[in-house]
Symmetry: C2
Subunit: 379 residues, 2 copies
């Protein structure tokens, strides 16, 4: 068993996906974990799952981790600070400043509270979805403030390092602006696009491809949870969305200009030969916007197919049992490790495309080797 | 060799990804294919690639397929109609009404022209990216009009069926509204979200997860091509985007209401115990919007993880060579076919999650079998 930095016990309040995953990760390092939840059934499930034990009188946890929904997080923090007057308390909610403010407003002892937020988690909740390694390699923000000492807050650092996550230090405000940008605004944007499909003709929706699927995937997220998250981080999220709206206004105006009679005449002229008209301002607006999208997406680390650390190879794979397995086995035989994989697969088609990411130095050798083994390389 | 419906010859004008793929697909069925391109180099590459032959005097094609960029499509159609007065002409551009209008305005003989649009293609272009099976199982719209006879237009139907695509009939207007919804507006939306990242702090971008990556993936598309596409389909795209803007205005107003002093007081009250305040209107607006996103995304066919035809299984896979291959091999040994696969993989993590889609009737058996073989099932 790997030694833990935390000495324990650690009390986990709320055994949903995050709470159970934290508990399982700590148990794997031998830490004494106490489980608590508003639902006794959930506690029983989590105990059966090996995530820890139930609370007893006289518990004196080193650390309390509050993993309850955002709208009750502040009140539970205040309650735990009061119930365990020697314990350090943290939480894992996806907003930090409103919770800190609410804890202060309710008179909570913030010399023992520091908020945190693991950037991990999947769409499915509940203790059954918990996994000891949910946080491996993921960023975990600690939202420090002036009232807690470095020494006291170090218990939260230890929690993060014990779970294999990457510690990121930010103020609560920096955190909330950051997640508004990378998580909360994208949720709204995805939702708004998906919402256009509600009243669309069946024939239109039937033309949907991978682009629309990707843009709208997170629109399937739980509305009740997201009302809480967006409400709690309203100001920074609105700020990002106002930026989107300004750009959207520009794009709509450019499209309306493109559709205006002058542009239509230009299109008709095009039919008689290449146009000699200079680029009009609507073209410049669209080009500028699209260029900005290119530049923005290039900044995202670990982006599928964009990750500069990897080279991409596209291999055609027959839609037969074992064919993809055979491809990956043969890659292994060539000594090449798969860094990432994406399967593109049209419904009803007899073939799929495996987009394989490998280290750049391996791509040439692998291309030659796979072609020699009869695989069709598509790009 | 499978027999073709088309008798040929077929003249393909423009040997980029789509033109070359069409040519390769027809060659695979033994059709005589004539290749033409503004770039003689591209024609040479495509010929070397087995996509067809160069043009000769006296060519009398049954069908001409125009596969050039949207801004020159109409002029090339008019030229081809005139150069080959016995041939049926189609094109594959992603907008249909402006092209039909421009061909009519330029005096093209539309009794022999009908536009079409295959919903296929990848981000990479050029003849080297061409694949004979690019269109297998993909929708391919024929944008019929009154001036061409059923008999004449049937050559285009034959092309589509020969290439294994699914024939979809729509008017040019219906087509353009549909692709504005499922392709052109999503491109703009993805771009606008990505654009917010350009001036973001490095620490914020470092928190990006899979949701942002998915929403912004297509923002990496080619700006020059998309200026043409959006400009050509400006009116229907602007209509979809005005709908998005109306919803966005509502969301921003709801967030501003949530951030207003009254809501802040309610949040502070929450800290003292569960709030008893009734749902305020900003909550209802957000819930309504998010519900609409759920409903919209549920309409998309073949959606990853949402496809009602498949059941989802998440298996933990160590980041070691051959581990994913072993999983897929063992699935094959259990007689279960993989319908779709998505790999979730944190940079630096020692483990990945393989999200496997299988037929619903197979999921229980497979879960038991994989667990018995020692695989960890995460959900």
């Amino acid at each position: 068993m790997v030694e833990s930095r935390l000495t324990g016990p650690v009390r986990v309040v709320g055994v949903g996906l995050l709470g159970t995953s934290i508990a399982l990760g700590l148990r794997a390092r031998g830490v004494d974990v106490i489980l608590s939840d508003a639902s006794p059934t959930n506690v029983s499930i989590a105990i059966d799952y090996g995530a820890g034990r139930s609370a007893t009188d006289g518990d004196d946890p080193q650390l309390v981790v509050v993993c309850v929904p955002p709208d009750v997080t502040a009140s539970v923090i205040v309650r735990e600070l009061s119930a365990y007057p020697r314990s350090v308390v943290t939480d894992v909610a996806s907003v930090k400043k409103p919770i800190l403010d609410a804890v202060i407003a309710a008179g909570g002892d913030i010399t023992r509270y520091v908020g945190s937020h693991p950037l991990a988690g999947r769409e499915k909740g509940g203790p059954m979805a918990g996994r000891a390694d949910l946080f491996l390699g993921r960023p975990w923000v600690v939202a420090g403030h002036e009232a807690i000492s470095y020494q006291t807050a170090s218990a939260v650092d230890d929690l993060i390092l014990d779970l294999g996550a990457t510690l990121v230090e930010m103020t609560a405000d920096e955190h909330d602006s950051s997640v508004a940008l990378v998580s909360h605004a994208p949720q709204v944007i995805s939702t708004l696009m998906a919402r256009r499909l509600v009243s669309a003709p069946e024939a239109a929706v039937a033309l949907a491809g991978g682009g629309l699927r990707d843009v709208t995937r997170i629109a399937a997220s739980d509305p009740a949870l997201w009302v809480q998250i967006l409400g709690a981080n309203a100001t920074p999220t609105a700020e990002v969305l106002r930026g989107v709206r300004d750009d959207l206004d520009d794009v709509i105006a450019a499209l309306e200009a493109a559709a205006a009679p002058a542009a239509a005449t230009a299109a008709a002229t095009d039919a008689a030969g290449p146009s000699t008209a200079p680029a009009t301002s609507w073209r410049l607006t669209l080009a500028h916007t699209l260029d900005g999208g290119n530049a923005g997406v290039a900044r995202i680390p670990g982006k599928h197919g964009q990750d500069k650390r990897y080279a991409q190879l596209v291999v055609m794979v027959d839609d037969a049992p074992g064919e993809l397995a055979r491809l990956l086995t043969e890659m292994g035989e060539e000594g090449v490790n798969l860094e990432d994989l994406r399967l593109e697969h049209s419904p009803g088609a007899q073939i799929g495309l495996a987009e394989i990411a490998v280290l750049p130095e391996a791509v040439e050798k692998l291309t030659v080797a796979l072609a020699a083994r009869g695989w069709r390389i598509a790009g």
